[in-house]
């Protein structure tokens, strides 16, 4: 069974702080996606990483795919209240379905 564990599960920080969310598995994935979900809405895709060691930047968000393609991280610089939400990683193994992580709930206070 493929599992994606995210840590931390909850994170409350002040505006302007930096944070990192981790997504770990013992399985290898061909690609990994990060989503953000706000209350009452469905998840929205932020990024897809496909190459081991790949780093992608989206404004203040930096995503990294582990060299072995088993783990990933999301780093947010100078967090803002608008970053508040549930962050989900999701891995795909070849042609198999997406496996979603356990989620990290981020709260950024002004």
């Amino acid at each position: 069974t493929q599992l994606l564990e995210q840590s931390p599960q909850f994170l409350s920080i002040q505006e302007g702080e930096n944070l990192t969310v981790y997504c770990n598995s013992s399985s290898v994935f061909s690609s990994l996606q990060w989503y953000r979900q706000e209350p009452g809405e469905g998840p929205v895709l932020l990024v897809t990483v496909v190459t081991g060691g790949e780093v992608k930047k989206l404004k203040r968000l930096t995503f990294q795919f582990g060299d072995a393609r088993k783990d990933s991280s999301l780093h947010i610089t100078a967090a803002q209240p608008g970053d508040t939400g549930l962050y989900l990683c999701a891995g795909a193994a070849g042609t198999d379905k997406l496996i979603f992580g356990t989620g990290t709930r981020l709260q950024v206070f002004p």
Partner: protein
Amino acid sequence: GAGVSQSPSNKVTEKGKDVELRCDPISGHTALYWYRQSLGQGLEFLIYFQGNSAPDKSGLPSDRFSAERTGGSVSTLTIQRTQQEDSAVYLCASSLGWGREQFFGPGTRLTVL
């Protein structure tokens, strides 16, 4: 709008009753997915449609759960004889094809009393 829509947005039912949840995908999207999300946690895959066919039903929790899709568009997820553990948010997503970016609807919050 042109996004994925789901109805109803909220459904409260009594244990033992049947419920039907509806998903309208983005026009032209051939792939449709159903997920279940419990209490703001990760998503649990239920079933996937390519056109009107369901190649992967492996995530359906029990035989009380069924889904169909007609005309390559609208899909319904039916839960028979609902149980309290069925309470969750049921999310639908669609994509241009298997493995392509999935666009999610807002979900249906199901509460079984």
